[in-house]
């Protein structure tokens, strides 16, 4: 009897769906699909925001792995040994070394230097880079908003992070003193360890990483000519791993240098507030996701309930001619499964075929993040499964309720 019930249930479900109008089927499937997307996208945006920030931190600054100077040191120790090892390592695709020194930047260097208050000047990190290598790791040239990036014929100058120039930032305060007057093409005086040099601003860059935007970049050759050899030392190495290799393996390889420098993956190196935001948003996202699932279940329940209620008389007739309750329940469960499955598959196609690629191509621009819509496949599948399960329950309950009613009452509609 059990097998017969399944068979009849399937028989009825298939015909029921086939015989429904395209409009009715389309409408139910659309509700399922929208429910699915509603479930995925709201949460996806919340999770995607800090994820986008992490992404930016990685692609615009840290690479996969970043080696930085210890807190109480001026630079990375044993830089030659570390660099040799980095050079030799086969899993490393690219890397960029950065020579970092605190410097003073003065836009009013032509004026008489009377009181410091009126002078348009600020302090920031001056970062010497091999601009081609740096560009390969962090794509800095992509983030130039005015002027240009260094090139072999144009390198006696500086590229300035947007937070340093008043004309490019609104972030001004105690911690962020800006140069108010200069723009691309203007010259400013760079003072590093007593050496003064007047250099033109050849470009302004703005990224989603505040540290980067608070820096002034200079070709390392130029920096080397300005400072003594003992000051010309590596402060950071950003490393990109070859595809197919994991950053964790590389970290293990380099970990024995941790006495000389911090060896951290981009995720570990990112500022604490980003990790905190990620946790908070993820909790918020889960909350929204849970509410989404409840709303989705109720929506499904209503849609399927209304559908079953209109069929009450037919359920009664089926019972009247000896069709088992199980067969009738199976038929409704299968219909619900069908609708939610098709809706979810359509949703998945739209999510991964359109929404996610679109959000990656056109990130939602936030100050600290290029917000993408996060849709981790495993997570999505779990949610899809939950959605389909609740659809099945939503399909089962009304069928069960009607099947339990008096057969004659159902047939006679009383």
């Amino acid at each position: 009897m059990f097998y017969n019930s399944l068979k009849v249930g399937l028989f009825l479900a298939v015909r029921e769906i086939k015989k429904s109008s395209i409009l009715a089927n389309g409408l139910i499937i659309m509700v399922m699909m929208l429910t699915f997307l509603n479930l995925m996208v709201g949460r996806g945006v919340l999770i995607g925001l800090p994820e986008g920030a992490t992404n930016s931190f990685k692609t615009q600054y840290a690479g996969d792995l970043i080696i930085t100077k210890l807190d109480n040191r001026k630079n990375i120790l044993r830089e030659k040994t570390i660099l040799d090892e980095v050079e030799k390592n086969q899993t490393i695709q690219r890397y960029s070394t950065r020579y970092i020194l605190m410097a003073n930047f003065n836009a009013d260097y032509k004026k008489a230097q009377t009181g410091t208050l009126e002078i348009d000047q600020t302090n920031a990190e001056l970062v010497g880079i091999d601009f081609d290598k740096e560009d390969e790791v962090t794509n800095l040239s992509n983030y130039i908003v005015k002027g240009e990036y260094f090139n072999s014929s144009y390198q006696k100058g500086i590229v300035v992070g947007s937070s340093i120039l008043g004309k490019y930032t609104s972030v001004e305060g105690v911690g962020n003193q800006t140069l108010n007057t200069p723009d691309v093409g203007d010259k400013i005086e760079v003072v590093v360890n007593g050496t003064k040099e007047v250099l033109p601003i050849i470009g302004v860059l703005t990224t989603k990483v505040s540290q980067v935007d608070r820096r002034v970049y200079i070709p390392k050759k130029v920096l080397k000519s300005m400072v003594s050899d003992s000051d010309y030392k590596i402060g950071e190495i950003s490393i990109k791993v070859k595809p197919g290799n994991t950053v964790d393996d590389l970290k293990i390889k380099l970990d024995h240098y941790k006495k000389y420098a911090y060896i951290r993956t981009a995720e570990k190196a990112q500022p604490q507030f980003l990790s905190d935001i990620k946790v908070t948003f993820s909790i918020l996202g889960d909350l929204i996701g849970t509410v989404g699932i409840i709303v989705a279940s109720i929506t499904l329940f209503i849609v399927i309930f209304v559908n079953a209620i209109t069929k009450r008389r037919y359920i009664g007739i089926l019972k009247g001619i000896g069709i088992t309750n199980l067969a009738i329940e199976v038929s409704y469960v299968l219909q619900a499964t069908f609708y939610s499955l098709v809706g979810s598959i359509l949703g998945l196609v739209i999510l991964y075929g359109y929404i996610v690629p679109y959000s990656i191509a056109n990130p939602i621009s936030f100050p600290f993040s290029d917000g993408i819509i996060s849709a981790d496949l495993k997570d999505t599948l779990v949610r899809t499964l939950i959605l389909i399960t609740s659809a099945i329950i939503a399909g089962y309950m009304p069928a069960r309720m009607i099947v339990k009613q008096n057969t004659l009452d159902s047939i006679l509609g009383r």
Binding site: N4, K18, I321, G322, I323, T324, T407
Partner: protein, 223 residues
């Protein structure tokens, strides 16, 4: 007696409507023999349908007993009643009661599939049954594509396809014109001639003439 197929004793169905009580079926007793063609007649509201629902196990009586093929139906649980309806009883409703999402053949097939027959066998049986009621060319028509008489014939085919011991019919021709009525009644007569037990509620005056095999109800009582 061995050839008694339905044995009704002191059957009563009471409806409560607020304070008012109505005995739609009032303490009736009768036997139906195998192969008989029983007509239940009576005025509107006399309790004919109510009686047939009890006999067809679509409803439960307030008191009294119905034995079908020796089985006291009071002792059956809901699941067993459903199975009983499937295997032993056929029911023809006044308004056909076909599934709109199934075509003629599929409507007839479901009880067969439910009975554990293969799809191909069920299809064959359904076609035979439809053939028997003269719908050879309408297998694939949906109820909405059939006339009232044709729908009623599908309903009859569905009721007889499982070879039930008894076929119940509640005014199967009430919504049909005289010509179609004759067709349907002839069909039921033919069924009966081939040995099928039939219990039918009817308005047809003809049948009142022959006192044989008629149960006449008035206010829920046999008169």
């Amino acid at each position: 007696m061995k050839n008694i197929i339905i044995e009704v004793k002191n059957l009563t169905k009471k409806f409560k409507n607020g304070d008012a009580e109505l005995l739609a079926v009032n303490n009736v007793s009768f036997d139906i023999k195998k192969g008989e063609f029983i007509r239940i007649i009576g005025k509107s509201g006399s309790g004919k349908s109510t009686l047939l629902y009890q006999l067809g196990l679509l409803d439960k009586p307030t008191s009294g007993s119905i034995k079908i093929s020796g089985v006291d139906t009071k002792l059956l649980n809901d699941k067993q009643r459903t199975e009983f309806r499937l295997t032993k009883l056929g029911y023809v409703f006044q308004d056909y009661a076909l599934m709109p999402s199934l075509n003629a053949q599929e409507n007839v097939m479901i009880p067969l599939l439910m009975g554990g027959n293969s799809t191909s066998f069920s299809k064959k049986q359904a076609q035979d049954a439809l053939d028997k009621v003269g719908l050879k060319t309408k297998f694939n028509n949906y109820p909405s594509q059939l006339s009232g008489g044709e729908q009623q014939r599908v309903s009859i085919a569905r009721a007889i396809c499982n070879n039930p011991e008894i076929v119940f019919a509640d005014e199967p021709t009430a919504n049909l014109d005289t010509e179609t009525t004759t067709l349907i009644l002839n069909l039921i007569n033919t069924l009966n001639k081939s040995g099928q037990t039939i219990v039918m509620v009817t308005h047809e005056a003809d049948y009142t003439k022959s006192a044989k095999c008629v149960i006449k109800l008035s206010d829920g009582k046999i008169v």
